[in-house]
């Protein structure tokens, strides 16, 4: 079989001819088109929303109406947060579990929040106790506003508890547009 080695040698020597080059060019452009179609589909399917479409300032009433520090948290179902009052101050906890998006509930028998889906538990401050959740509960920014002038008298923009103002007429507002993620636990 003397012909075989010759053949393989000649195969190696084959250079790209015009037809092969053009075919590669078509293939490459089709590949590019496919990738761009992928990008177009992605941009097409991605939902768009306007600035500030989600969330807004929710008045929760005067400071005198807040739940007492030993009372269970108050449920604001429509705007999805729990208003809790602790010794450190008032907190608005985003009602969606940081695990997989279920709405957790206050369990008055055990004095903690328990999620019905996968059993994550949080204390009254929204701090992580147990379960698969990766972080403590998310919080909304809270403001205290003077009822007559509309002036902000106290603010907890970073999600810290807002100490209850001394003046009982001061209006408490929750800004559900400003969500502060809870702390990752170790």
């Amino acid at each position: 079989m003397p012909a075989k080695p010759e053949e393989s040698v000649s195969e190696e020597k084959k250079t790209i001819n015009r037809r092969e080059f053009l075919n590669f060019a078509w293939l490459a452009s089709l590949g590019f088109l496919t990738v761009s179609l992928g990008g177009v589909t992605y941009l097409f399917a991605m939902p768009r929303f306007k600035e500030g479409e989600f969330g807004g300032v929710v008045p929760v009433g005067p400071a005198s109406d807040l739940p007492t520090t030993d009372a269970p948290p108050e449920n604001f179902a429509k705007v999805k947060f729990w208003l809790t009052n602790t010794d450190a101050g008032v907190l608005a906890l985003y009602k969606v579990c940081t695990h997989l998006g279920c709405l957790y509930n206050w369990n008055s028998q055990e004095n903690k929040f328990i999620c019905p889906c996968h059993g994550s538990q949080f204390d009254k401050n929204g701090n992580y106790i147990a379960g698969p959740a990766p972080r403590s509960l998310d919080r909304f920014a809270i403001q205290a506003v003077d009822p007559t002038t509309g002036e902000v008298v106290a603010e907890a923009a970073n999600g810290d508890p807002l100490p209850v103002p001394d003046n009982p007429d001061v209006l408490i507002q929750v800004d559900t547009g400003k969500k502060i993620n809870g702390q990752q636990h170790a």
Partner: protein, 533 residues
């Protein structure tokens, strides 16, 4: 004389015409030949027209010409692959019909299901069959895969077929899951919220994947439409494509594998020859498939009509309340169990991805050339381990595992769940004898001796209530949240309106930690005409 001749002539002519038409439709099989096929007779013409059909007819060219006799033994395949495909076609047909009455918008989706259940002839049955078929398809896909694994049928020339099969497993699961949202009830809404939140846990592209699936930060009109389109267009098309590839390999390239003992065992040459004999598709396999199809349809209809299988429908989706005991569909319990164990990115995305990659790679990891169970101890061990793990993880996915529901809530939820029926609502209206039933020393054999037929259902519900409260009250070794020290419990049944009774379940106890008195109470209004599940 002339007249009779004419008639015979006519009959022949008409017969010939009919025969010709039939040959055109069947791509070459005449009337006599069809009859011979159904009778199991040998071919009536030469060359054998039954083979020709496989080249002239599209539908028959994708079917095999023959299988080896040994491969068709029932215990070799249990017809699992056939039934998986069968259920897929059942889903296509029932799904197509159900689409007539379905509108994929949050305003109308739930109503269209109610309308289907109460207003459309056979609507409930079709929906039940669609659901039963979907669950059966998941079961059969899994069993088919397990069988293939245990008989080592993924090796050598069949490795690519296995590869496409893993794709089909994924498509089947996504098909079932995407159909879940469509009724727009609580079950649907929260299961899909959890599912899409899991997508969000994926590293790098998680947030984008979640938004694209949901169509907005929360599931709403956009999300429902997207899931609907996935369920009725994208995934079925993908399934048809991959099933075609999967099946073509089996029918045209390597056939169904012989049982390992025939391939590897010490067999006499005659026996080896016998198992390799060809069993033609027409007539043997074809008629067998007709039988299996009839059997499958019978079982589906019997399951829904006679055995009471019913697709569940909970309350309309409420984005503001997650019901207690929200759980994934049973074929995802293992995933729900894993999610309770740890980090969602690890448990919900990374480990499942690794499992799927391992499944894909099985033929390339397992280089053992043998197929018999006895010659593959490691592979069989791994298989059994995997199945046991799956079962244990599924158990951990149940709402009773790992979620600390306090005793009082748990007991009342089990008797009358927030979603679904439960034993309390299943009590016939006539048995709801008004009265105050206090949990105490002993439960009488029948709570209502004055009723003609007694009230066994009410008594058994009260008995369960009573036993569980007593257990939680007297057992102080239980964890605190399961205890009810000094519990007093009562079930009150009142006449509320005509044909309407009010049932109250109330438990009072002292908090184990503080000693403070606590009450948990729930009320139910039960109407005479209510649905009892």
């Amino acid at each position: 004389m002339n007249k009779t001749l004419d008639l015979q002539d006519m009959r022949k002519k008409i017969g010939g015409m009919v025969d010709n038409r039939v040959r055109i439709i069947t791509a070459g099989l005449g009337l006599n030949e069809l009859r011979a096929i159904l009778r199991g007779d040998p071919p009536t013409e030469k060359p054998n027209p039954r083979y020709r059909v496989h080249t002239t007819s599209f539908l028959f060219h994708i079917r095999p010409r023959y299988y080896e006799k040994g491969a068709t033994i029932f215990a070799n395949t249990f017809r699992l692959g056939f039934f998986t495909a069968f259920f897929f076609f059942v889903e296509l047909f029932t799904g197509l019909i159900l689409m007539i009455y379905y509108t994929p918008s949050p305003d109308q989706a739930y109503n269209s299901i109610l309308n289907l259940l109460s207003n459309v002839p056979f609507g409930k049955m079709l929906r039940d069959i669609h659901r039963l078929g979907a669950e059966a398809m998941v079961i059969f896909t899994f069993l088919h895969m397990l069988r293939t694994y245990l008989t080592g049928s993924y090796k050598k020339e069949r490795s690519f077929t296995w590869f496409t099969g893993v794709f089909l497993l994924g498509i089947t699961l996504f098909l079932s899951f995407s159909g879940y949202l469509l009724p727009w009830d609580q079950l649907a809404y929260w299961a899909v919220t959890i599912g899409t939140s899991m997508a969000e846990a994926a590293p790098l592209f998680g947030q984008q994947a979640n938004l694209i699936l949901r169509g907005a930060p929360d599931i709403g009109a956009g999300g429902l439409l997207r899931f609907y389109l996935m369920h009725v267009v994208l995934l079925p098309l993908a399934a048809i494509l991959v099933i075609s590839i999967h099946y073509y390999k089996v029918s045209r390239e390597h056939g169904i594998s012989l049982p390992p003992r025939y391939e590897e065992g010490d067999l006499s040459p005659e026996k080896k020859k016998e198992v390799k004999q060809r069993l033609d598709f027409i007539p043997d396999l074809f008629t067998h498939e007709m039988f299996l199809t009839a059997l499958g349809l019978f079982l589906l209809i019997a399951g829904t009509v006679f055995f009471g299988y019913a697709a569940p429908l909970e309350h309309i989706a409420n984005p503001q309340v997650t019901p207690l005991d929200t759980e994934a569909p049973w074929y995802f319990w293992w995933l729900q169990g894993m999610l309770k164990l740890g980090d969602k990115t690890l448990m919900g995305i990374i480990i499942p991805t690794v499992i799927v990659l391992l499944l894909f790679a099985i033929p390339y990891i397992d280089r053992n050339p043998f197929r018999s169970l006895y010659k593959r101890p490691i592979a069989v061990g791994v298989g059994i381990f995997a199945v046991i793990t799956l079962i244990v993880l599924s158990y951990m996915g149940l709402p009773h595992y790992g979620i600390q529901t306090p005793a009082a809530t748990r007991i009342i939820q089990d008797l009358a769940p927030e979603e679904g029926v439960g034993p309390l609502r299943a009590i016939p209206f006539e048995q709801l004898q008004t009265g105050v039933y206090e949990v105490g020393a002993e439960v009488p054999r029948d709570l209502c001796p004055n009723l003609d037929y007694g009230c066994p259902a009410l008594t058994s519900v009260f008995k369960e209530f009573s036993e569980r409260v007593t257990y939680a009250a007297t057992n102080d070794k239980l964890p605190d949240y399961k205890r009810l020290p000094n519990a007093r419990a009562v079930m009150v049944i009142e006449d509320w309106q005509q044909d309407l009774k009010k049932v109250t379940l109330r438990i009072t106890w002292d908090d184990p930690a503080t000693g403070e008195a606590k009450v948990y109470e729930k009320q139910y209004f039960l109407h005479r005409e209510r649905e009892r599940g």
